[in-house]
């Protein structure tokens, strides 16, 4: 695909959505305006925008497909095709993001321009997700969740209860600030439980430990709990 084609896809989906799901159409239009005002120069910005749009278009089509169904039985059948964390994303968090004001949306641009959008923890996240998958857990990762909902990963384990997770290294200078903002942010989105986990990358097998702790808490953390833990 050529880069210029994605705008057409965005516009097309916006028009379809405007007939059936106005909140989706409005959010897509907002994204269009945000991109128009981005005035980027960097390759990082282009990569991010492209991936963000791909993710947004995919998720919007999935959401739109479900909303277009007329019967609850059909919707239930469609939700059954999803993993538990996908159900949580498409049933709860993604519709909330579409329908409600996101106070952080316009801060993304600042982060993008200032280079705060880094990929330092990319390999680590991949390893953690790999370990979670090996233990038969499921994971959803989204830019919207990361940038607006203080959530690096949404994880579920054997009991299929989805949990929003924020990860930080103990050596991260911004760790304390992240910790302070984390609970406020997830409460804004009425996320009913969350885990803020500081890991020590100097410890042996810390990746396996992180995966284990995350899965255990996804099963057992009580509703209404916002737990901070340091390994």
């Amino acid at each position: 695909m050529q880069g210029k084609e994605i705008k057409g896809l965005l516009k097309s989906l916006t028009r379809e959505a405007s007939l059936i799901e106005p909140s989706l159409a409005k959010r897509l239009e907002e994204i269009d305006r945000w991109i128009k005002n981005l005035k980027p120069g960097s390759l990082t910005a282009k990569k991010f925008v492209m991936l963000f749009l791909k993710q947004m278009l995919n998720d919007s089509k999935i959401f739109f497909a479900i909303q277009s169904l007329s019967s609850p039985e059909e919707r239930e059948l469609y939700y059954q095709q999803m993993k538990p964390t996908e159900r949580y994303w498409f049933w709860d968090l993604f519709p909330k993001w579409l329908r409600e004001n996101d106070p952080k949306f316009y801060i993304w641009r600042q982060k993008l321009m200032s280079g705060e959008f880094s990929q330092d923890d990319k390999e680590l996240l991949e390893q953690i997700v790999h370990n979670i998958n090996l233990s038969k857990g499921t994971v959803v990762q989204r830019y919207v969740a990361d940038l607006s909902m203080a959530t690096d990963l949404i994880v579920s384990g054997s009991l299929e209860r989805s949990l929003c997770i924020q990860l930080t290294s103990v050596s991260d200078k911004l760790s304390q600030e992240k910790s302070n903002n984390w609970e406020d942010t997830i409460r804004i989105w009425r996320i009913d439980r969350g885990l803020f986990l500081s890991y020590n990358p100097g410890k042996a097998d810390f990746v396996e430990e992180v995966a284990e702790i995350v899965l255990e808490h996804s099963n057992n953390l009580n509703a209404g709990s916002y737990k901070k833990l340091s390994l």
Binding site: M1, Q2, G3, K4, I6, K7, K11, S12, L13, R15, E16, L19, I35, K36, L38, P40, L43, T44, A45, K46, K47, F48, V49, M50, L51, K54, Q55, N58, D59, K61, I62, A65, S68, E74, L77, Y78, Q81, M82, E86, Q119, K122, L125, E126, V129, V139, V140, Q141
Partner: protein
């Protein structure tokens, strides 16, 4: 009709599952490659597509200023095209590269043409045939004439159904 309804529902479900698979693949690509995953999806990531983002704004604003009757027609046509009616199913399959909103907009233009000399009919047929090259992989063994005849018949059915549906819908959209 029941068979068509079942197969249409099954098709939609299969399309949905495909969407889910695409989103899972995208997630995995981003996890594995980070922002470089963009190179998997776009040929010219570092091209000027972002700088030229609002190039076509003028055309889109003109579209948005369409008349109220046009909007109602498009809405009604969209609802028909999205239904399980066998003709709608065939049209969706034929024009699968286009969004339903695009198809509705193009059909609206066709319906503005006069009926004499079958101008309207042939315009709808051309809309359907226009996707023939995209669908040619699955129709490689039929010659062009068979395809034209089939599309002419589908165009007739589509026009008939649209008129019926629009007449029924006209009160709802007033």
């Amino acid at each position: 009709m029941v068979y068509n309804k079942v197969s249409s529902s099954q098709e939609k479900l299969e399309d949905f599952i495909q969407l889910l698979e695409s989103s899972r693949q995208l997630q995995q690509d981003i996890l594995t490659r980070g922002l470089d995953a963009a190179y998997l999806y776009v040929d010219d990531v570092d091209g000027d597509w972002l700088e030229n983002w609002d190039e076509e704004e003028g055309d889109l604003e003109t579209e948005a200023n369409g008349n109220l009757a046009g909007e109602k027609f498009e809405k009604a046509t969209f609802v028909f095209l999205n239904s399980d009616d066998p003709v709608a199913v065939k049209v969706r399959k034929r024009l699968k590269e286009k969004s339903l909103v695009e198809i509705a907009a193009e059909l609206e233009k066709c319906l503005m043409l006069p009926e004499e000399n079958d101008r309207r009919l042939f315009a709808v047929k051309e809309l359907l045939v226009g996707s023939a090259s995209l669908g040619s992989k699955t129709r490689g063994n039929n010659d062009e004439n068979d395809d034209e005849i089939e599309m002419l018949e589908l165009a007739e059915d589509l026009l008939e159904k649209l008129v019926e549906f629009l007449e029924k819908s006209s009160d709802r959209y007033e």
